[in-house]
């Protein structure tokens, strides 16, 4: 088994005149937690949509997952191969209960074969993300923080090899952010899951990720350890400079 889980080369995407993703290339190693950092509009979500097959990249790109070319593969098949994602704005299955939401996540990835265990696994996942006891609740009445947890449970139900989280902390209070960070760390530790997460706030990142890929205007401007990234001149210029704050959250790096 090769150490590289995901290999991306020459990834480009134009939307009309907008070059949303420019020559992006990186490797994700099995078992890593990697953060994709970048201000709003840097092309982070577009990158996820390209990786998961929701939109096609411009010609010439290479995307390999577990050594297999997944370029041009339909989104549901990519999910079936082991890439689960969440969305920036929570998109639960409205009209279904909390438990049903997780069941659907398990069903999609060929889970129908061991139907007997689906229910037990879904309940266990809900327990783990802290939604135990809310199984029968309609998903619409969940708080935003709980919807985030549910999304992660839904994504984990498919037993992915790679979990893509799109701004998991957006709209959460600081207590909820701590809880969710702990949860992400825990699933990473328990299952050796490789996690890629998008965030545009540095502070949350520092405690969570092994490595950072910084994007700006669709380009990779820096790549490296979190401590190095916050001192990287290009990142400071692109990111902090614009933000006009010097609170890099570096104090939380430990």
């Amino acid at each position: 088994m090769s150490a590289t889980l995901l290999e991306v080369r020459n990834l480009n995407k134009h939307f009309g005149g907008l070059h949303a993703v420019k020559n992006v290339g990186f490797d994700i190693v099995r078992g890593e937690v990697v953060g994709i950092l970048g201000p709003n509009g840097a092309g982070k979500t577009t990158l996820y949509n390209l990786l998961t097959g929701f939109i096609p990249p411009d010609a010439g790109a290479t995307i390999r997952f577990q050594g297999q070319n997944i370029l041009g593969v339909a989104p549901h098949r990519i999910a079936g191969l082991g890439i689960s994602r969440t969305f920036q704005l929570c998109r639960p299955f409205v009209g279904l209960s909390v438990l049903e939401n997780v069941l659907v996540g398990a069903l999609g990835a060929g889970g129908a074969k061991d139907a007997g265990n689906l229910d037990a696994r879904a309940r266990e996942l809900l327990q783990r993300v802290g939604l135990g006891g809310k199984e029968a609740v309609p998903v619409e009445v969940l708080s935003y923080g709980d919807q985030r947890r549910l999304e992660i449970a839904r994504a984990l139900a498919a037993r992915p090899a790679l979990l893509l989280l799109d701004e998991p902390f957006a709209g959460l209070g600081s207590g909820e952010i701590d809880d969710l960070s702990r949860l992400i760390r825990q699933v990473h530790a328990d299952e050796g899951l490789t996690v890629l997460l998008i965030e545009h706030k540095l502070r949350e990142f520092m405690r969570l990720v092994d490595r950072v890929i910084a994007l700006d205007f669709g380009e990779v401007i820096a790549e490296g350890l979190p401590e190095a990234i916050v001192k990287h001149p290009a990142v400071i210029e692109a990111y902090i400079g614009r933000d006009n704050t010097l609170d890099l959250g570096a104090g939380h790096a430990a």
């Binding site: 998961t52 929701f54 339909a74 989104p75 549901h76 098949r77 999910a79 079936g80 689960s84 994602r85 969440t86 969305f87 998109r91 639960p92 299955f93 409205v94 009209g95 279904l96 049903e100 939401n101 069941l103 659907v104 996540g105 069903l107 999609g108 990835a109 060929g110 129908a112 139907a115 998903v139 839904r154 994504a155 139900a157 498919a158």
Partner: protein, 311 residues
Amino acid sequence: MFNKPVDLFGAAAFIAFMAVLPLIFPGNYLIGVLTVSVIYGIWAVSWDFMSGLTGRENFGHSLFIGVGAYTAGFLNTTLGVNGWWSLPAAMVMAVLFALLMGLPTLRLKGPYFALAMLSGAVIMQRLMLIFWEQTGGEEGINGLTPLIRNQLGFYYFALGVLVVTTALLMWLARSNWGLILRAIRGDEATCQAAGINVTYYKIASLMISAAFAGAGGAMYAHYQLQVSPQLFAVVTSITIITMVYVGGMATIYGPVGGAILLVLLTELLRNFGEWRLMIYSCTLIGILFFLPNGLIAPTWRRVRASLGAKE
């Protein structure tokens, strides 16, 4: 929850009631009305399976009804085939038309999907008139043979088909398959992210829905002993959708009650002359305004709760 004794009791009570009704009040008039109501029930249930569960409201259900009826008409008269072949043939033809309509409308949502499906039915209705030499034009096709000569016998047959259709579609709707259809209604992109082949489920559910609508169409043709382009009319689709709303969307059994209730209501109001449509419309508006979840399914839920059944 399907196997709860209370539900089985409810289903048995309904079947017994429908079976006994024409025996208590004999007469071909009532049998005729009940037969039509039962066929509408098949159409409403088949509509609810696809549109109720996935939320893709099909305003052209009459297309599949018409295709089923004309298939029966052609087979039975022009080709002289035994009437019992009409049902399976109608199902196959309706499924083909479901593919024809389903593939180009895959990405359409909400009103766009509804209008595209509606256009399909309108186009077919026009084609029946344009190719009048083959289809009989306005007159349609006459002279179909009855499936069962005894009217009561045919009614029981139709009731049997309704019961089987409802049971089958309810079983599917409450399986993982139905769960995925409801998830598609919830969010298509999340379905894809969860590894679900949304295209497959959309097309397959439309095909299943069309198959039963087509079978109902063939039965209607063999009941009326003729088919006409009127079968494709938009008003048929809208009547069916209203029946589902009154019965309770996405419940499968609710629309059965909705269909029977509305057909009977239409007949009861015959004595009111020109006030009929006014009263009918006001009743409908009243039901939809005060009972947005429908009348039949919520009422049944209340009954079963009072009988001690838990969800």
